[in-house]
């Protein structure tokens, strides 16, 4: 049995990053699925592994690692297999720059919108007392605030508007970067692409007015190229929710402005 266990939710956002990195690297791992919508990540068993209660976490031997992007760099360095960081130091800088931009600026905007339309409504139907108790169990105060907002639909209009503004800016930046380079940070597939795909795999569905074959041909080329990789398909096949099944949009030959189905 593998000495690597990954504690993760769906192949999406932070969970999907180390999932896909491990698979591209050819590292066998024990998959420990945590249902984010059932608050598994705040239950005692998991808090014993990661006291911060954030997903994902990875156990390698007797060590536990957190922070999805830092885990990806570890996976690339600790295991043999195809390198997922470029050889050139400046390209490596660019990989890190774009990952941070997505992790800390663009990603939170995508996820605020996603939590507002997907996560919030999905858990809101649970028993109110159960929800209240679930929120109180969350270790990090920031995460407690986030969940409260998602569960009770408390995102202010201006917050959502700002997130939508950032998503539009981010899409323009990704399109420009992918017009200059084949992959996000250079001329080879890297952790930046794994990170970006987790953020943007359903972009033509979630933002049809901002991303399609006419407006963002380079983003669509890039998403399809990542989706064509066998490990991407294998990774997304591990998903259980309708949210990640949206990746099938990338099977369409052409996604025009009005053609999203």
């Amino acid at each position: 049995m593998s000495d690597v266990t990954l504690y993760h939710w769906e192949p999406n956002a932070n969970s999907g990053k180390p999932m896909l990195a491990l698979m591209e690297k050819g590292v066998a791992f024990v998959s420990h699925y945590l249902d984010l919508l059932n608050f598994d990540q705040h239950k005692r068993d998991y808090l014993a592994i990661n006291p911060q209660g954030t997903i994902p976490a990875m156990r390698h031997g007797d060590r536990v690692l957190t922070e999805s992007t830092a885990i990806m760099e570890y996976v690339d360095e600790a295991f043999t297999g195809p390198p997922l960081m470029p050889a050139d130091p400046r390209d490596r800088w660019r990989v890190r720059w774009w990952m941070k931009f997505m992790d800390q600026w663009l990603g939170p905007s995508f996820s605020m919108i996603g939590w507002n339309v997907f996560v919030g409504p999905a858990v809101r139907t649970k028993d109110p007392d159960e929800l209240k108790a679930a929120i109180e169990r969350i270790p990090l105060p920031e995460r407690r605030t986030a969940w409260r907002k998602a569960i009770y639909g408390l995102f202010a209009d201006e917050e959502l508007k700002e997130s939508q503004r950032r998503v539009a800016v981010g899409i323009r930046m990704l399109e420009a970067a992918l017009g200059k380079r084949e992959w996000l940070a250079g001329d080879r597939y890297s952790l930046a692409d794994i990170n970006g795909f987790n953020l943007a795999y359903a972009l033509p569905l979630s933002q049809p007015k901002l991303s399609n074959d006419e407006l963002t041909p380079n983003i669509l080329r890039w998403l399809r190229a990542i989706y064509a990789r066998p490990m991407t398909k294998a990774c997304w096949a591990m998903g259980r929710t309708p949210m990640v099944k949206r990746v099938a949009i990338l099977e369409q030959q052409h996604i025009g402005k009005e053609q999203v189905t």
Binding site: P89, R143, T145
Partner: protein, 251 residues
């Protein structure tokens, strides 16, 4: 390959980058710019996405072959990769993960708090002509916010708490250690960079923290750091702030 560093006072991100440059024994042309007056936005590469949209806010720019590189931790990683001198990252992948995860949490929680408190005590001066040059809408808003003194008591209190938490974490980490990761690393530079100016602004955070005080002194007397601090033009570089990373918008 020739390098130019456009840097501000040796505090925050400029501190990390200059010290990393000297620690790794490299030559670069050094050009002082006043980050607290927004002079970074006059650079030819100001609108390059990796410069304009840098999550770190105002910070130094390393120019290599016409490309502007930003983000102090990642520039330090780059300098470590191409450097001739001592190494700034551990070799072991797990120790490297520890260092990157440390820096990530510091950048996400401590740095925005430090910048908020630093700017509150030392508001920047900005004029309309400078503001229009800022490519990032949210960075521009942080400038306006800081210059107008719109800081809230809630955020000031929360920021002070985050500084206290960071110092507690450092104090615990230094038990039986000289440096945060065991060996000297980027984590020491980046942690010092954001906390040096907090000693005066949040003194309670540093009370009865002997290991932290000794560590700060050890950082200061390193030759590369002493050289970095000697580049200061202000009498107290750690009291010199420009808008930094934003405080987490949500969760």
């Amino acid at each position: 390959m020739s390098m130019t560093v456009y840097h501000g006072e040796p505090n925050g991100p400029s501190f990390t980058v200059l010290a990393a440059l000297f620690e790794t024994g490299q030559d670069a042309a050094l050009v002082h710019i006043d980050l607290a007056k927004g002079q970074r936005h006059n650079l030819a590469v100001a609108q390059q996405p990796e410069v304009a949209m840098n999550v770190e806010g105002e910070g130094p720019v390393l120019m290599v072959d016409g490309e502007g590189m930003t983000d102090s931790v990642f520039i330090a990683c780059y300098l470590d990769d191409v450097g001739k001198g001592g190494k700034l990252r551990p070799k072991d992948p797990y120790a490297r993960w520890e260092m990157m995860a440390w820096c990530r949490q510091l950048i996400e929680r401590t740095a925005p708090a430090a910048a908020y408190l630093g700017l509150n005590a030392h508001p920047p001066i900005c004029d309309a002509a400078m503001l229009v040059k800022i490519g990032s809408v949210d960075l521009r808003a942080r400038w306006q916010h800081a210059a107008a003194g719109l800081n809230t008591q809630d955020r000031l209190a929360d920021s002070k708490m985050k500084i206290s938490q960071a110092v507690s974490k450092i104090e615990a980490q230094l038990e039986g250690r000289e440096w945060l990761m065991g060996e000297f690393s980027i984590a020491d530079l980046e942690s010092y960079a954001w906390l040096a100016g907090m000693v005066e602004l949040v003194p309670s955070a540093f009370a009865e923290r002997p290991r932290t005080a000794d560590w700060m002194q050890r950082v200061r007397v390193r030759p590369a750091v002493a050289k970095t601090l000697s580049l200061a033009r202000e009498p107290q570089p750690a009291a010199y702030w420009a808008p930094g990373p934003e405080i987490n918008r949500w969760g």
